[in-house]
């Protein structure tokens, strides 16, 4: 068993990775490099999910966000004519004012939530095989939503094909 102190260290390392790569996403000039750092950011978030014993969520994060959504973004950047080669400045002359305003709103929101909401640690321990539990619930209690998801995905796929084809041809 990993000691609690070790998990703390891992958490702070992951949090630092999320914050640093997240900052680079919104500050780098080459949009392609931004996309690469987005991949690192999302992977670190998956690490945090693992730390919380949410294995399914971590797997979903890696498969869908790291594996598919960010690849889609990189594709979009590479397909857009010469966007990748351009250096784009992500900020304008209001950057410093915007920084302070968003700081005030962000810290204010955190202070407001921290002051009113009672945070509690998860007391009940998760079942050891929580992926199997998710699977069982998906097949029994949430059967209808599960089947509706496939219809939703079908609609998304047909919509994507219709839109992308019109642009392609």
């Amino acid at each position: 068993m990993v000691e609690a102190a070790d998990t703390g260290v891992v958490f702070w390392l992951l949090a630092a990775a999320v914050l640093i790569s997240g900052f680079l996403v919104v500050s780098l000039k080459n949009i392609f490099h931004c996309a690469i750092f987005l991949v690192i950011c999302l992977t670190a978030v998956a690490g945090i999910f693992l730390l919380l014993d949410a294995e399914f969520l971590a797997a979903a994060q890696v498969l869908i966000y790291v594996g598919a959504v960010s690849i889609l973004m990189i594709f979009a950047i590479m397909l857009t004519s010469r966007l990748a080669a351009h250096n784009v400045i992500q900020t304008n002359r209001h950057a410093i004012i915007a920084f302070f305003i968003s700081m005030v709103f962000g810290l204010g929101a955190i202070a407001l939530i921290a002051g009113t909401h009672i945070w509690r640690l998860a007391i009940e321990t998760l079942p050891a095989d929580n992926i199997a539990t998710i699977g069982k619930l998906l097949m029994t209690e949430f059967m209808l939503p599960f089947e509706v998801v496939s219809v939703l995905l079908l609609a998304a796929m047909i919509g994507a094909i219709v839109l992308a084809r019109k642009e392609g041809s």
């Binding site: 068993m1 990993v2 998990t7 891992v10 693992l50 730390l51 014993d53 399914f56 797997a59 979903a60 498969l63 869908i64 594996g67 598919a68 959504v69 690849i71 889609l72 594709f75 979009a76 590479m78 397909l79 857009t80 004519s81 010469r82 990748a84 080669a85 095989d129 992926i131 199997a132 539990t133 998710i134 699977g135 069982k136 998906l138 097949m139 059967m143 599960f146 089947e147 998801v149 496939s150 219809v151 995905l153 079908l154 998304a156 796929m157 047909i158 994507a160 094909i161 992308a164 084809r165 642009e167 392609g168």
Partner: protein, 117 residues
């Protein structure tokens, strides 16, 4: 969490090896740069334009369809883990799920999206 200690060690050792190799090559290589060395294919034809060029639009539709089936796979994953504890109805449910999505693949096929012309 114990199983992930191995993952962490792999991650650290993997990163370490790459960084060490870069450091080592920096240490022992001669520093003799000239412009020809930084072109894409140094010992071949002179390239036309840069390596940042616009890729074929066709790749995008494949990426979009890939995302949809990626989401499908993430639903297969808990189903497969729980399958041993479930009855035949789980198989039927998953077959329905996949069949509905298969219709999307059929649509793409019929529309000629999968063809590389």
């Amino acid at each position: 969490m114990t199983g992930y200690l191995a993952v962490l060690i792999f991650l650290l050792v993997g990163t370490g090896i790459v960084l060490f190799t870069f450091f080592l090559s920096r240490l022992i290589r001669p520093f003799n740069t000239y412009p020809e060395k930084s072109i894409n294919y140094e010992c071949a034809e002179d390239p036309i334009g840069t390596s940042w060029f616009q890729f074929n639009n066709r790749f995008y539709i494949f990426a979009l369809i890939f995302v949809i089936f990626d989401v499908e796979v993430i639903f297969l994953f808990p189903w497969a883990v729980a399958y041993g504890q479930l009855g035949l109805y789980a198989l039927v449910e998953m077959v329905i799920f996949i069949l509905i999505l298969f219709f999307g693949l059929y649509y793409a096929w019929k529309k000629g999206v999968l063809k590389w012309v």
